[in-house]
Symmetry: C2
Subunit: 160 residues, 2 copies
Amino acid sequence: MSEEFTVVPVAHVVGGRVEPGDDYWGGSRAIIRVDPEQFTEGAVVGLDAFSHIEVVFRFHLTDPTDLHAEPRRSRDNPDWPAGGTFAHRNMRRVNWLGVSRCRLLKVDGLDLHVAELDAVDGTPVLDIKPWFGVMGPRGEVREPAWPAEMLAAYYAAPRE
Amino acid sequence: MSEEFTVVPVAHVVGGRVEPGDDYWGGSRAIIRVDPEQFTEGAVVGLDAFSHIEVVFRFHLTDPTDLHAEPRRSRDNPDWPAGGTFAHRNMRRVNWLGVSRCRLLKVDGLDLHVAELDAVDGTPVLDIKPWFGVMGPRGEVREPAWPAEMLAAYYAAPRE
């Protein structure tokens, strides 16, 4: 497949956690700073009417050789089924794209103040979209038990 | 900002609608064909346990000069507020990234049969993730009235 595309950051995460980690994103705060060289404040007008945004970002700290397309168990837990790269949401994936929803607390100029964004300080952000309820998953949602088990402490407050 | 990243399709949309359009994605069916040159069937193992997937794709048919970072009204409707590029989810955006949820009907080899994916035949797919309920928007969701008004017929059946 010879197609390829160049993408550029439209923003960066400023503040919040410095180290990536599997859990304890509860209470985290950060700023998504929209690039002032590309955008004016007009680019974020109207976003403050939404409680949540969807953020597409680059897992920029991932070792690019740490790719696992073939089935593996999340967190190497023998209680959970092995799944291929597309059955996981972690950073070990071609293109290193993350997609997260977070709460938008405040828009201040080109700074989007957000809560519980699971991306670390310095993360390049490739897109920001408002969360439209209509665009969520439609109809009955079915998933196996392991994601909720795995993520039981994901949005817990950090341990001292 | 000098950072840029190269991304490659991991899959393509095969079938379904040929023309992009604002509405009437109801009942549409397509295949997301994972690239057999990059992946074996191991890459999709476990995905069939999920009813929905999240798909990151490239709005590849968009005229790249049709960018509107500054505030504009959706569908030029004077009843709706003008919003900047990041207050919209349409294709007029830097990087031309779309993020959609769709129903996963069946996994057949590297073919993911999906329903109501709002991306046309030939669309380059940059990532595929399972939908984890825990990763949806957390807490109370607030949004203005215009997205639901605008999208009232988005998932309606096509008109004859």
